[in-house]
């Protein structure tokens, strides 16, 4: 099953829906950015040409990703 990386603040009803299609990986809230975006996948990661690129200080690391140059803060 595909895996979906998403903010841990997702509501139960949304998570139940998405679980039909994905294994959900909840992003723990980071202390390195302001609270509102602290669990946002699109702050710490991006996907281009099917390749995951992650910030050096991303909350979860993936073995098959490219690590970018800049930390987010």
């Amino acid at each position: 099953m595909r895996r979906l990386l998403i903010d841990e603040r997702i509501r139960d009803v949304e998570q139940i829906y998405l679980k039909q299609y994905f294994d959900i990986i909840k992003i723990p809230l980071s202390n390195e950015v302001y609270d509102e975006i602290s669990g946002h996948s699109d702050i710490f990661y991006c996907k281009v040409n099917n390749q995951i690129i992650e910030a050096p200080n991303a909350p979860i690391r993936f073995s098959n990703s490219i690590i970018g140059e800049n930390k987010v803060r």
Partner: protein, 164 residues
Amino acid sequence: MLQFVSRILLLEKTKYGKKYPEDVPYNVCQIGNKIIGSKYTDKSIKPDIIVKQGYTKCSIAVTDDNSCITTDKNIEEVLQKNGIDALYIEENNIKLLKRDGTESTMRGFIGGATLVFDNKFVLFGDINKLEYKDEIIKHINKYGLELVSFDGLDVYDYGGGIIV
């Protein structure tokens, strides 16, 4: 006293370090084969189209290989010039969350409030809460997407989701 002042300065430095544009180097998206980024994008990523808005991915919900919905006027203009069908919505009812999960006063964006996969357009909340409901429905129908909306819920920007 000196130690106390140093601590305050350190706290201030930390506080003010947590802000735009240092939080956006990975906030890019891809529409078809075109990577959309900004001048703040990390050097490991080579955008094909540069927009002013550093919160690029937050501001764009990709709806097909050549279309999107955006909450940023400049993004709409730049993408349209590049032949992409971009629908601009000036939506005020997308919310961000505080650390404890309660609603923040900050406004969220359409890219962060949606997840598009397998021809589904998942909105994190109820489409009826949005001022631009009709325009969004018309656009996603045009691209054959099925709307998934959650009755009665305010629309939250979670930063979208990434399939890994």
